[in-house]
Symmetry: D2
Subunit: 375 residues, 4 copies
Amino acid sequence: MEIKIAGDSHGTKMIGLIEEIPAGLKIDEQKINDNLRRRQLGYGRGERMKIETDQVQVIAGTWNGVTTGAPVVIEIENKARNPINTNDQRHVPRPGHGDYTGWSKYRLTDLNIYTERNSARWTCVLTALGSIAEQFLDHFSIEIMSFVSSIGSICVENSMFEEIQRNFDFYIQKRDASPVQCPFDDVSERMIEEINEKALKQDTTLGGSIKTFAINVQPGLGSYANVLNRVDSKIGKYFMSIPSVKGVFIGLEDVSLPGNQYHDPFILQNGKINRTSNHAGGIEAGITNGENIIVTTYFKPISTLAKPLDSINLETKENVKAPYIRSDSVILPAATVITECTLALILMEEIIDGFGNDNIELIKERYFSKYSKNN
Amino acid sequence: MEIKIAGDSHGTKMIGLIEEIPAGLKIDEQKINDNLRRRQLGYGRGERMKIETDQVQVIAGTWNGVTTGAPVVIEIENKARNPINTNDQRHVPRPGHGDYTGWSKYRLTDLNIYTERNSARWTCVLTALGSIAEQFLDHFSIEIMSFVSSIGSICVENSMFEEIQRNFDFYIQKRDASPVQCPFDDVSERMIEEINEKALKQDTTLGGSIKTFAINVQPGLGSYANVLNRVDSKIGKYFMSIPSVKGVFIGLEDVSLPGNQYHDPFILQNGKINRTSNHAGGIEAGITNGENIIVTTYFKPISTLAKPLDSINLETKENVKAPYIRSDSVILPAATVITECTLALILMEEIIDGFGNDNIELIKERYFSKYSKNN
Amino acid sequence: MEIKIAGDSHGTKMIGLIEEIPAGLKIDEQKINDNLRRRQLGYGRGERMKIETDQVQVIAGTWNGVTTGAPVVIEIENKARNPINTNDQRHVPRPGHGDYTGWSKYRLTDLNIYTERNSARWTCVLTALGSIAEQFLDHFSIEIMSFVSSIGSICVENSMFEEIQRNFDFYIQKRDASPVQCPFDDVSERMIEEINEKALKQDTTLGGSIKTFAINVQPGLGSYANVLNRVDSKIGKYFMSIPSVKGVFIGLEDVSLPGNQYHDPFILQNGKINRTSNHAGGIEAGITNGENIIVTTYFKPISTLAKPLDSINLETKENVKAPYIRSDSVILPAATVITECTLALILMEEIIDGFGNDNIELIKERYFSKYSKNN
Amino acid sequence: MEIKIAGDSHGTKMIGLIEEIPAGLKIDEQKINDNLRRRQLGYGRGERMKIETDQVQVIAGTWNGVTTGAPVVIEIENKARNPINTNDQRHVPRPGHGDYTGWSKYRLTDLNIYTERNSARWTCVLTALGSIAEQFLDHFSIEIMSFVSSIGSICVENSMFEEIQRNFDFYIQKRDASPVQCPFDDVSERMIEEINEKALKQDTTLGGSIKTFAINVQPGLGSYANVLNRVDSKIGKYFMSIPSVKGVFIGLEDVSLPGNQYHDPFILQNGKINRTSNHAGGIEAGITNGENIIVTTYFKPISTLAKPLDSINLETKENVKAPYIRSDSVILPAATVITECTLALILMEEIIDGFGNDNIELIKERYFSKYSKNN
């Protein structure tokens, strides 16, 4: 399986492609659009999100709405198109953004160019492709969900996330009711206050973190054939690709615990193999272990600031202020759906690699047949 | 560029391969062996490390010690060979190790099999290949170094790592003098005490963290062509592949800071582009920005415990204790060289992709020519 | 560099993507459209070619018409859209087509589905992407051209192709004036007669062959790092991918000659390294040798026949006739531009791998600098 | 699945690696050695073949001789080691060999260097890896065999290859009894005479062709997800990689036949889907169709000649004769095993991609289950 993500932030449209997706998967565009809508909401988002109501179109790889084995291509129109006059070059890079690094690499002088690839606009494609992966995983009863765990200095206690795992459905409803995608009322309110006080009033931005879970994942997904391409490596790769992400953690973050407290004992319960804890976050030695997969992702505050930082003009070599370009203040709430979709893509790939690439009905048969045996 | 890592932990030898390494690079085996030696030392390591004194042999891809453009292959003999009697199957998985997940995937009944791929033995190959990458990077004046930043509950203050960056050479000497690869005498001593009290005396193990730096990296290494394969994605991928690593961070970990304090202002000093801080850790939008690359890696305590945890027998379906297999207590000190080598491989790849794959003299010419221009 | 080709033959549009194309390349859509026009012409083509006048749109990866380093995406509308009623399933496979093999793999029952991927419609994307590659190669003075060398039993003598290489410009004009893209008037006429007599009058189809040349290619493009991915392997791979192609040859096809007559002696002429023949077809040991690259491609007659062959109904298990679906009689003339574009993509990739992926001006500088030295 | 081939022709050993081979495959080294022996025999081979009796060692990826899912690594010692004095540089390239192209790419001055990668020595690794693939395919009842179809001007009639397909076992015995691997006594004798008269007596070399067959291949192996990576594309790629190969053909080479005679009608016989001919060579639209796969490979005469051709000294820029380096006269007989092993690797990959990468017993179950249904 391979995915491609293309499209310029202010071009006519964004494009996504999944290659080697099996035949026979019914794709529901409405479910993709629902996810795209989640990506545009959340307290602290800027104007662009109101302009755009992203709608996906599956333009290739299906027949009567069902995948054919050919590459699935989706497109999403850019409604906020070309506000930038290409005659009006920009030479002042924004600290934290990809203006300066883009120029250092590609050596085209107008810094506006690099925003086309470096803005987070392309995550709408990641979301759409991952939504297809979620529909694939539905057939294998695998569910994925994310929650905002911190914004600025306001955090959910880790123990609360143990609570969430006892009743996902309830907490997803609570999350969806929160403007910051945080399922605990009190924390949610404090996060909103944090955004108001620390970001909006100060013309600045805030970062934070997200916890992502996958449940009902069978043990044995992944492969150790290539030690640099195991499930945890892929999580490192794909999650670190999400714009603003600076840190990725799998399972329990407190590595100061000694080994006998960190590792998860096995226990036989009603003839089934269980664990008395899940510090490993569902992955041991790069392969799934049957417990919930748990990934924590850390986002820096976004880099376009209403009250800009010091910068320089690369042409005139003068110290100047960075430009302000319309943007969000906090993207954490919108990013929950992005991390879900990212994890979905990884797990879909592992199932295809593990069980074949022909037809989803055959793959399901093979999957459930394997796990019905001596497990 | 592509690398392959193979070999079974108790087989005759470990094998590494680098494909698409340019011609003309002189490889010094002694420098590789020095790094292999570092990988075997450190307070808290087990018996195997005394048995083995790893020695690399470059067995292909060179002519008179100089690369030819053909794949470079290295091998390292396994001196601690086959202590395991293959008639004596094991059916009890160790919590935290890859025994159970390996069985879930591959369905061969003897769990000893999975240790062959899942033990950290293969990191000797990663170290050897990365040592070649370090020799490649020498030609571009890029240096890489790592330090232990925490073991168990004992941490170096982050501000001390700012101090280190002002005088790398001095602190490397200090690090090399510390049995735990921590360059601050007082912290180093407390770490040793922590190992004694919390790990050795309790028959358990400890995790911790490592900071890795790359200096003299030019801005503009990497590419945004594939948004899922930028330098930060590769760091996520490769560092998360290192055994026991559960978390990876690039740059400043405190994402609770608002945007105006997090991002690194530009300033022109003596006609040169500089930054007044380096919270980005040398990477913006997935491309190097010319500042020091800073990666923090979090290691769980290793999973083989002298006082074992609860487990089950997969054949008899009984609750039993996990087996104890000779092992280390703390691998942080040994892992500093591994994270250095990992980062070196990533940067070598970016230079080859950016400047060509024919001959190192030509590549150097192109690299220094680009960076001598309007920068 | 990587390319992706997607789109269903009767969907709304076809999509192509090139990843890792350097920044700074001006793309001329008119030149792409000229090539798309060539792909639709030629004596013996069917109705669809009149319906469609393919027009490319570059929808991503450029700024003011110049590449930015981001993936270039092109789309081409399908004007002959959905003539197939998806309620009207087909169960009778056409011999020679991908109906039966598609069903064997993907197990969706309506055979119409497989035509969406298996018809040659996608070669319009290959042509568009290859046209961009040709524009890239222009900067390196590399030119590529193809000629029809046989249709049915009518062949151009091989010696005539030696003649062509002495004056490409003249013979390209002659080719363009021929309805069958064959630059020799008499042979061209006999080919037309062959199509009339052997194909059209008999309600059948004809195959043949094409010779493709690349000139002004420097020696040393390619790499032996991966022996399974050298220039000749790529030619085998990409040319064999073109629909209907069953055979691919590089250089002189008469392998009955002994070695001393087959191989191309070196000679020094005016201080320059030359060869007294070019039987190798420009490639030795998988790397270019500075002579014209020469590839011969053999096409089977296309498989959709107006007077159909015997087939079976896969549902009812009855012997029946294959269906007739609107099609061409001879595609050789239209395929000359396809083989040109295919070779262009291979050579662009080799230049990027050899000289870097940042900016075309830098790459040119490096290329011409290398070849100005001791060559 | 991925394979790597490394090792220098005169280094200590050759190395091969297969990644993503499923667990549970018993590897029989003797069968690999039998194939390696075939690769060294044949009328017209030179001295080196007598020096070497290649023996494989599986050094990683197995446990008690059974694959574990980890990369399988094999090594083969080079007995004809380092006859070349590295102080004695060579500057005169052999026409047809990779000396000049290697230098053009890599720019190391001693041309002896390029022989290390460009000689056909590495095909012993290809043979060993392909022999493992053959053992994999045994489990799926797929058999592969090759025959010499021409040497110099002496050819087997194509109709004789139709004869062979009626009784493979008989003709394999005949082939094995022929010093030139040609199963027809009269042709075999004329080939030997051709070698004597045209090659040995004239101090030159001869090329020719080989036909390779795969039987009992199920329909539906391969994928059209990536149109540039279908089974025929892979055949083009891998077969064109074999040293000396200049042409590759799948199925019937006479493309002058009209479509109604070229394509293979379907017929229902005893409820089974059959074809009345197999001109497609077992592949339609890049996916297997259940008939025998037939590949013809054309080899140029090898390039090292006892009576050398004109060349030049790249250092002194003088016209001189090419050097003579110990070599073979005809490699066709030895190459039959190479083409078999090449095809085996392709088919193993298709089965893994199609049915999963975990354990061969599970993969077999899935494969035979799919093909027991409605086929």
